[in-house]
C-alpha cells in the first residue's frame, strides 16, 4: 500500500531531517513511528500524505509510492482522496461550526455530486456514531469528540490510508482510549494506518510494528511484544514513554489540613447555573507535589483558576497559609501555567521572557541562567518563543513559573504530548522546586509523571 524507497527530505533552507528511509506498510497494517521529538516523525507522515514537499516545500530524494503509483505524478487532490490526514489540534482545523458541514467539507472540495456528498456524509456520521452531535456547535465538543469529527471528515472522502500526527497530544486518557477504538475499527476495515506518537499505551492493542526514528532514520523496529519487554531504563534511554498500561502510583491523599500553604474547604463552583464541583477539600504544604486528577469536566482547570484568582469560588473557603485572600490578590502568591502555551509568551526572546517584569539584578540574572540551563533552554536563549517546539514551550512556561518567585506553582497537564526526555526534565524540576520549599500542584493524567515526582494525590469528584 505504502512504499518509501530510500527517501530523504530537507525543508527549504534547513538540514535534511529524513535520510534514506525505507518503509513498507501493507493493507490493514498499523505502523507507529516513535522516538524523541524533532527527529523527523512528523515529516515522515507528511511525506506519505504528500504535504511534504508539495505543501511544505523542500527537496525530496527517493520515491514515495501509494498503491504502486508514484506520489510525484499525483495532483494534491488525488492524494487527498487516497490519504486521510489527522493532525494534532483538531480545533484549529475546522472550517465549519457544525458537524455536518465539517464532515462534508472534503467531499465538497473533491467535486463529488450533491447526492454522493450527502450519502457519504450521512453514512459517515452514522458509522462513526456521531449522530447525537448534529445540533451541537463544534466548539463545545470535548477534545476527544473533536478529534473524532476530524477523522470522520477525512474518512468521508474514502481514503484507504490514514496518517496521524500526534493525535492524542491534546487528549486526556479517556479520549485516547476512545481514539484507540476508532483506530481499531479502521484497521479491521483494512485501512493502512501510520501514526507518529509519543504516548504509547493506547496503541499497544492496535499497532503491528513500532519503528524507532532517530535523526531522520528508522534505526530499530519493535513488535508490540518487544516494546513491552523494554525495561524502564532502556525506554528512558531511547527517550520513550512507557508502553505499559501503567496504573497511577498509590499516593497519600491530600486531605484538608489546617494551616497549609493552600487549603481548600468545602469549596464549590457553579458557572452559568451549572455546578462544576462541590465540597472540594484538599490542601498542600510547602515541599509537596500534589497531583490533581479526575475525569474530564470535573473542574480541575476551574479549580486551578480559582486558586490563582482568575475565577471566584461560589462557596466554601480557600485559605493561603491560613489567610483568606481576595481573588485579585491571589496572583501574587500563585503562578498558573496553563496547558495551552500558544498565548503565553509576550517578548521577542527566551531570556527576556523569563525576566519579564523582574528587576534586572545580578542575582535574578544568575537564577535565570541557571534555570534555563537546567531546562535545556540556555542555548536557545536568544530565540523567539514562537520558534520553539511544543516541548520547549512547555519548558519555557515552567521556567517562567520557577522564576516568578511565587510560593505556589500550578501546572496544567505539563507533559501532555511530550516525549520521555522532556517528561523527565519537567518532573525533575517540579521535584526540585518542592525541595526548595515551594508548594507544587500539578493537574495530570500521566502516571509516569506522578511516579517520578508527586508526593500526594487529590482526585477531584472522587475516583
Amino acid at each position: 500500500m505504502i512504499e518509501l524507497e530510500n527517501v530523504s527530505f530537507a525543508y527549504v533552507g534547513e538540514k535534511p531531517c529524513v535520510r534514506g528511509v525505507n518503509l513498507k506498510a501493507a493493507e490493514g497494517e498499523c505502523v507507529v513511528l516513535i522516538g524523541r521529538s524533532g527527529n523527523g516523525k512528523t515529516t515522515l507522515t507528511r511525506l506519505i500524505n504528500g504535504l511534504a514537499p508539495y505543501y511544505y516545500e523542500g527537496t525530496l530524494g527517493g520515491t514515495v509510492r501509494l498503491g504502486g503509483t508514484d506520489l510525484a505524478v499525483m495532483p494534491q487532490w488525488e492524494r487527498a482522496k487516497r490519504v486521510g490526514c489527522v493532525f494534532q489540534d483538531p480545533k484549529s482545523q475546522f472550517f465549519s461550526g457544525e458537524l455536518t458541514g465539517e464532515v462534508a467539507f472534503a467531499c465538497e472540495n473533491l467535486g463529488f455530486s450533491v447526492r454522493e456528498i450527502r450519502t457519504r456524509t450521512d453514512g459517515m456520521i452514522r458509522a462513526m456514531g456521531l449522530g447525537g452531535l448534529r445540533g451541537t456547535p463544534l466548539d463545545r465538543l470535548s477534545s476527544g469528540e473533536k478529534q473524532k469529527v476530524a477523522i470522520a471528515s477525512v474518512r468521508a472522502a474514502g481514503p484507504r490510508i490514514f496518517t496521524f500526527d500526534e493525535p492524542t497530544a491534546n487528549l486526556d486518557e479517556e479520549s485516547a482510549d476512545q481514539l484507540s477504538e476508532t483506530l481499531g475499527a479502521l484497521k479491521r476495515k483494512g485501512h493502512t494506518l501510520v501514526v507518529a506518537e509519543h504516548r504509547l499505551s493506547w496503541l499497544m492493542e492496535i499497532a503491528d510494528r513500532f519503528l524507532y526514528v532517530d535523526d531522520g532514520r528508522i534505526v530499530r523496529e519493535f513488535s508490540p511484544r518487544e516494546l513491552r519487554a523494554l525495561s524502564a531504563g532502556e525506554a528512558a534511554q531511547l527517550g520513550l514513554r512507557r508502553p505499559h498500561e501503567t496504573k497511577p502510583p498509590l499516593l497519600p491523599g491530600a486531605d484538608y489540613r489546617h494551616g497549609a500553604a493552600v487549603a481548600v474547604r468545602q469549596a464549590c463552583c457553579a458557572l452559568k447555573g451549572k455546578t462544576i464541583f462541590r465540597d472540594v477539600e484538599f490542601s498542600a504544604f510547602p515541599g509537596e507535589v500534589v497531583a490533581v486528577t479526575g475525569r474530564n469536566g470535573k473542574g480541575k482547570t476551574t479549580l486551578a483558576k480559582i486558586l490563582c484568582g482568575l475565577r471566584r469560588e461560589s462557596g466554601g473557603s480557600v485559605l493561603f497559609s491560613g489567610e483568606k485572600i481576595p481573588p485579585r490578590k491571589r496572583r501574587e502568591r500563585v503562578f498558573y501555567s496553563a496547558n495551552d502555551t500558544n498565548t503565553q509568551f509576550f517578548t521577542p526572546s527566551v531570556e527576556e521572557e523569563v525576566l519579564l517584569l523582574l528587576p534586572r539584578r545580578e542575582e535574578n540574572l544568575e537564577r535565570a541562567r541557571e534555570t534555563l540551563r537546567q531546562l535545556g533552554l540556555f542555548e536557545h536563549r536568544t530565540r523567539h518563543p514562537a520558534t520553539l517546539s511544543g516541548g520547549q514551550k512547555q519548558r519555557l512556561s515552567l521556567a517562567c513559573a520557577v522564576l516568578s518567585g511565587r510560593e505556589i506553582l500550578i501546572f496544567d497537564e505539563p507533559t501532555s504530548g511530550l516525549d520521555g526526555g522532556n517528561m523527565k526534565i519537567i518532573s525533575g524540576v517540579l521535584g526540585q522546586q518542592a525541595g526548595d520549599g515551594k508548594t507544587v500542584l500539578v493537574i495530570t493524567h500521566d502516571p509516569e509523571l506522578m511516579e517520578a515526582c508527586c508526593t500526594h494525590r487529590f482526585s477531584i469528584g472522587g475516583e
Binding site: 521577542p348 526572546s349 523567539h384 514562537a386 520558534t387
Partner: protein
C-alpha cells in the same frame, strides 16, 4: 515568494483572518468613540489607524502578494455596505487601488517605507468614513432636525469640525500623523518579533 505568484489557499485564509481582525478592531473603536462627537469626529479615525498599522504591516509582509490591500479594503467596504453606507464600498475599492499602486514596484513588499506610505495614505483617505456619510445623509438629517425644532445654528455647531478649514486641516493632519506613527511602530514590531520568529 514572488508578489506576482498565484494566490494559494493559505494566502486567502491569512488575508481574510487578518482583514477581519482589522475590521473588527476598527468598528469597535469607532463604536466606543461614538459616545462623544468630538472624539468620534476628530480622534477616532486617527486612533484606529495607529492601532491597526502593525496588523496591516504583518498582513502585507506575510502574504507578500499583490492585491492584499485591495482585498482587505474591499472587505472593509462590504462591511460598510452591510451597515448601510453603500457608497463606501466603491470608495474603498478605489482606495485599495491607490494602495496597490503605491506597492506596485516588485520589491515594495519588503520595503517598510513603501508600506508606510501606503498605510499613511490610507489613513488620510479613511476619513471618508466620517465625511462621506455626513455629506450623504446631511440633507435627510437637516430636514429632520429642522422639523424637530433644532436651530440651524445648533446643527452647524455640530458640524463645525467638518466645516471650518482649521478643524478640517487639524483632523487630516492628526489622522495622517497617527497612521504614520502607527506604521513606524508596525515596522519596528515586524523587525523585533515577526522577522525574528521567521514568519515574514
Amino acid at each position: 515568494m514572488k508578489p506576482n505568484a498565484k494566490w494559494s489557499a493559505k494566502d486567502v485564509i491569512t488575508t481574510v483572518l487578518l482583514s477581519v481582525l482589522l475590521i473588527v478592531i476598527q468598528l469597535l473603536i469607532n463604536m466606543i468613540c461614538m459616545a462623544n462627537h468630538f472624539v468620534s469626529m476628530v480622534l477616532s479615525v486617527g486612533i484606529t489607524c495607529l492601532v491597526c498599522a502593525p496588523i496591516y504591516f504583518l498582513m502585507v509582509r506575510r502574504v507578500h502578494k499583490r492585491f492584499v490591500s485591495l482585498l482587505y479594503m474591499t472587505l472593509l467596504g462590504v462591511v460598510f455596505l452591510i451597515m448601510g453606507d453603500w457608497f463606501l464600498l466603491p470608495y474603498f475599492i478605489v482606495v485599495g487601488f491607490v494602495c496597490e499602486a503605491i506597492l506596485w514596484k516588485t520589491d515594495a513588499y519588503d520595503n517598510p517605507w513603501r508600506i508606510t506610505a501606503a498605510w499613511t495614505v490610507y489613513s488620510g483617505l479613511y476619513q471618508g468614513v466620517n465625511l462621506l456619510p455626513i455629506l450623504a445623509f446631511w440633507e435627510a438629517f437637516t430636514s429632520n432636525a429642522l422639523a424637530s425644532g433644532m436651530s440651524q445654528e445648533y446643527i452647524d455647531s455640530y458640524l463645525s469640525y467638518y466645516t471650518q478649514p482649521g478643524w478640517l486641516a487639524f483632523i487630516l493632519i492628526f489622522t495622517v500623523a497617527c497612521g504614520f506613527v502607527g506604521s513606524l511602530i508596525g515596522s519596528r514590531m515586524m523587525k523585533k518579533h515577526f522577522g525574528k520568529a521567521g514568519i515574514l
